[in-house]
């Protein structure tokens, strides 16, 4: 970061304002692929795919699991409307493991397209949760 410019990011979920801060860089996965946002990004609206969101502030990186929602990059701020979003320490590993098994089971014996795509989404969410909580368990 040459000029160390910051921009405001707001992550809002239905239950609460998840995160609000001035940060250096935002990394998020959209349906079109991973994008990194720096200050001065062009205005953009995009759909979020399940993935890890990273907030870089003061050289530190904070990570969270972001499952669903959309993202709006405006000149003065970045707004993420998340249907569900969690910090690593909020993830219930046992539940995620169960969800993973359930989704895998459903995928094996699935009939009908809607169920397959839904189960795939559930599986991706479970894997994301497991990945993130695994990572932070080792660290702490």
């Amino acid at each position: 970061m040459a000029d160390n410019k910051l921009f405001r990011v707001q992550v809002v979920s239905p239950e609460r304002i998840f995160y609000e801060n001035d940060i250096e860089m935002l990394e998020v996965r959209t349906t079109e692929g991973e994008i990194g946002v720096l200050p001065g990004h062009i205005p953009l609206t995009s759909i979020i795919a399940p993935g890890v969101v990273r907030f870089k502030v003061n050289g530190e990186t904070k990570e969270a699991a972001l499952h669903d929602g959309f993202l709006e990059i405006l000149p003065d701020k970045v707004l993420v409307l998340a249907e569900s979003c969690e910090w690593p320490d909020e993830i219930d590993m046992n539940r995620a493991k169960e969800a993973k098994i359930r989704a895998e089971r459903r995928l094996k014996g699935a009939e009908g397209e809607i169920n397959v795509s839904r189960a795939e989404l559930a599986l991706r969410r479970a894997l994301l949760r497991l990945e993130l909580s695994e990572k932070y368990k080792i660290k702490h």
């Binding site: 239950e15 205005p43 953009l44 959309f70 000149p75 249907e83």
Partner: protein, 288 residues
């Protein structure tokens, strides 16, 4: 005049009822506080969602999308949010009245009921109940809103219904709750008041990734879900607010009745004592 014993029994029964209503008032006050917190917490999301929807629609006026237009079906889906329990004054009835006395024909309406009370009275009134999500009312979660939203959106894209409405009670404050019928689809975003100069955001040319149509395809369901979730939270708060008020006035009425009956009881007691005395005196003078 009723006998002393009768008055006493009635007074005791009212006292018991009064105790119950007072306890229920305390309970719903506590629940109201909790529900109010949820409404507050869900507001920012909803507000941002609304703003985002509005700015997308305003900036790209030439988008045509199935969710923005009426389709061929004449049927209307109405999500009716009421409570599972009664004793809340006119709360449930007011929501039901939106449909029974509303502008839409009974035959055209498909009801997606949330809340047992509304479901039962609408069924009695001859409405078609398409689905029932009553158990949601105990503790509405966002995933419930997603489920309901998916059901109505499926019906909309299969052209089973041409319009989607939401009937619920807006929680304005603890003493005011307004039953409202709101249109969800086709999306009707009411334009904001025209400000003198457009803000910076209005002037920016927004880019979409993927195409605007696809983005809308994803965002509109989320918008609908957020509206449903907001409505569920507000309905829970309204229900407890209405119940609190109803129980408050019931307790007050019980107090009034007890005061009235105490007076009557004392009069009856006085009268019986007087009568007894007269009888004794009369008896004594007859012996002499």
């Amino acid at each position: 005049m009723a006998s002393m014993r009768e008055i006493k029994r009635r007074k005791e029964s009212i006292q018991n009822t009064g105790q119950i209503t007072a306890a229920m008032k305390v309970v719903s006050t506590a629940k109201l506080q909790k529900a109010k917190g949820r409404v507050e917490a869900s507001k920012p999301y909803f507000q941002h969602m609304y703003d985002a929807m509005y700015s997308i629609l305003a900036k790209s006026s030439n988008i045509s999308h199935p969710y923005l237009q009426k389709n061929s079906s004449k049927k209307k889906a109405v999500i009716v949010i009421t409570s599972n329990r009664g004793l809340a004054g006119g709360y449930n009835n007011n929501v039901v009245k939106l449909l029974t006395q509303g502008a839409h024909k009974k035959e055209d309406i498909l009801v997606y009921a949330v809340g047992r009370k509304g479901r039962d009275s609408l069924r009695r009134a001859g409405f078609e109940i398409k689905a029932d999500y009553s158990e949601v009312m105990n503790e509405p979660m966002f995933s419930d809103a997603i489920e309901i939203g998916r059901a109505v959106l499926d019906a909309f894209s299969n052209e089973e219904v041409g319009e989607i409405y939401l009937a619920y009670t807006v929680f304005k404050n603890t003493i005011t709750q307004i039953p409202t019928l709101m249109q969800l689809l086709p999306v009707a975003v009411t334009p904001k008041e025209e400000t003198e100069k457009p803000s910076i955001e209005d002037l920016v040319l927004m880019n979409y990734e993927p195409e605007p149509e696809e983005v809308l395809d994803q965002i509109i369901p989320k918008y609908v879900n957020s509206l449903i979730y907001g409505a569920l939270c507000e309905a829970v708060a309204s229900e407890n607010g209405a119940r609190m008020q109803a129980m408050d006035s019931a307790s007050n009425n019980a107090q009034d009745m007890i005061a009235d009956l105490s007076l009557k009881y004392n009069r009856a007691r006085q009268a019986s004592i007087t009568q007894e005395l007269t009888e004794i005196v009369a008896g004594a003078s007859a012996i002499e």
